[in-house]
């Protein structure tokens, strides 16, 4: 290699600086039309949740008995009215607050606990055996049943419900992280790290973690849907959010008695849950591609 090319290489360096991970996630997600739609949907739900008092046409619990069971399209109540005469659109907007809170918080908390647990388990085989066998015990209970059991033990309330959801989520996420970490552990770069005297905790945190976390992020995005539904189920059983609070799960379950006369009462919030779950799944797929240095450059180049 000649000196000239080295020189130009040096001079080029400031202009072509290494981009941060966030830049690639940003470009990767925004460059993908499907992911753009997913982000748009999630953003709309978020904004609706934050600005609910300003957006919602009616207060969520104000009932007008004369308007009971009106179908969607009624002037002033574009998504219809429920069995007590409350405006469904307003309840949907207010309900987004609780639904997003109950869907996302347990997933984030679960990941925060699962990622270290799974990686620690993969690195220390004895600890791994103990951790994974205890996870198997939790696995033996169906997700909904375990959540019901815990929520019932701790008593009703939104905080207890979220704790119950975190506990039920941990085994699933830990297993995903553990499997990914076991794969990474046997890669040559980990052995190379050992050969250059990298301490064990540093190998876990700075070498393996960036490779493992992507699979947990993707998994977490797909599990948001299941959590929203489980949270709805707990609320339905009276263990989570208490009526008359507007929450999509409660709204769906309250509509079940009128499913033949006024299907929109259950269908509208049900549809909202479906759209939210789908948006998170699509976002998860896109995040996986843009988090991986091996695929993200292709993503950006292809779309230039």
């Amino acid at each position: 290699m000649s000196d000239v090319s080295l020189e130009t290489g040096r001079r080029k360096q400031p202009a072509e600086k290494r981009r941060s991970n966030l830049y690639f996630v940003w470009r990767g997600v925004l460059g993908d039309p499907v992911a753009r739609i997913a982000v748009g949907i999630i953003l709309i739900f978020f904004l609706a949740a934050v600005f609910a008092p300003w957006i919602a046409p009616w207060p969520p619990n104000e009932a007008d008995p004369s308007m009971r069971l009106r179908p969607p399209g009624t002037p002033g109540h574009w998504l219809g009215v429920d069995n007590q005469g409350r405006d469904i659109l307003s309840r949907l907007i207010y309900g987004a607050r609780y639904t997003l809170l109950c869907g996302i918080t347990p997933v984030v908390l679960g990941a925060v606990i699962s990622v270290p647990l799974g990686m620690f388990g993969a690195w220390y085989p004895v600890a791994g055996a103990v951790i994974m066998r205890s996870m198997d015990v939790l696995f033996a209970f169906p997700m909904a049943l375990l959540a019901i059991l815990l929520a019932a033990l701790m008593g009703p309330g939104i905080g207890n419900m979220m704790i119950a959801l975190v506990v039920t989520l941990i085994p699933y996420n830990t297993r995903v992280v553990y499997a990914a970490a076991c794969l990474e552990r046997d890669q040559a770069y980990v052995e190379a790290a050992r050969a250059m005297a990298t301490p064990g905790y540093k190998i876990i945190l700075s070498e393996m973690m960036p490779n493992v976390i992507a699979s947990s992020v993707v998994y977490s995005c797909t599990i948001v849907g299941a959590v929203v539904i489980t949270a709805a189920g707990l609320s339905f059983l009276g263990l989570g959010v208490q009526p008359p609070t507007a929450e999509w799960g409660i709204m769906t379950s309250e509509g079940r008695n009128f499913i033949f006369n006024a299907p929109h009462i259950a269908a509208v919030p049900g549809l909202a849950i479906t759209i939210l779950v789908m948006a998170f799944n699509l976002l998860g797929d896109s995040l996986r591609d843009s988090l991986d240095p091996r695929t993200r450059l292709m993503l950006i180049k292809r779309r230039k």
Binding site: M1, S5, L6, T8, G9, R10, R11, K12, Q13, E16, K17, R18, P125, A129, R133, Q187, A188, Y189, E191, A192, A193, R194, A195, M196, A197, T198, P199, K202, E207, P210, N211, D292, P293, R294, L297
Partner: protein, 327 residues
Amino acid sequence: MKNLIEIRNLSKTFRVRRGSFLRREISENPAVSDISIDIRKGEILGCVGGSGSGKSTLGRMILRLIEADSGSITYAGADLRSFGPAELRLHRRRAQIVFQDPLQSLNPRRTVAENVARPLLNFGMRAEEVQARVDEVLQLVGLDPGQAYRYPHEFSGGQCQRIAIARALTLEPEFLFLDEPVSALDVSIQAQILTLLRDLQVKLGLTFLFVSHDLKIVRQFCDRTMVMYRGKLLETGESDQVYRQPLHPFTQDFLGTVLHLKRDNRWEAAAERAEDLESAAPAMSGPCCPYVSNCQQRMPECARAMPALRTLHDQRSVACLLYPATA
């Protein structure tokens, strides 16, 4: 030349265990058994043998990436196997490894600069100095430091192997264990990497243990060659001599598996021999020559005890009863 590493009666057996709490052994797999060899300062020692002959295990034990079961390794006069954490940390500065698959040996989510800088950061070098040193080693292996912000997968196999070599050299080691460093590369790239390694070896006064299953490369690249089979050392000597006049029946057969471009009719014979070596009956239990079940010139004594490694003329040693010791 002085010996850098002296290995005496080194053995390692991999035990396969079942169950996580109540572990019981289900099989034993002797990877390296009773090997004694010296590695001299400044030489390139080649190590050839089929797959599963314990070549990589031997090198990893010198780096303490795998702990030996018994025997001793003396590194520059110190007993390597008794090193505590602090001494081991210093040993990591002196002895480094280059892997077979260059892409796999670099962290895919770290840039080239981060990958190469990691060993320096481990030894507490300051950030500005690290940058300078990374540029320096990248130039040393013939790469453009301006490209160091890229990720490993953006480089070709040969370039990745250069990066891996650069990373191994950042700590200024004196010994490199090259674990089949060119077998994952194109033939045209192999020559480039070997030339680079040879240049670096001369320039920096390095000592190499070069593991390969490519006999032609070992012959050209290495000063001395050791031949291993099923964890046992069968023959050592100057590379040229081992190739011109292989002594052990295994070495003779193993060399026969090399394909000759010109003589087409030999290909079939070579393939047949290679098949014989791979599918040889499992080694007989108890002490015996590892090649006894396949050897054309076996004697009844071969099945009774493992022939000792005997030193012949010209620093040649062979573990075979066909050659009585002259000394």
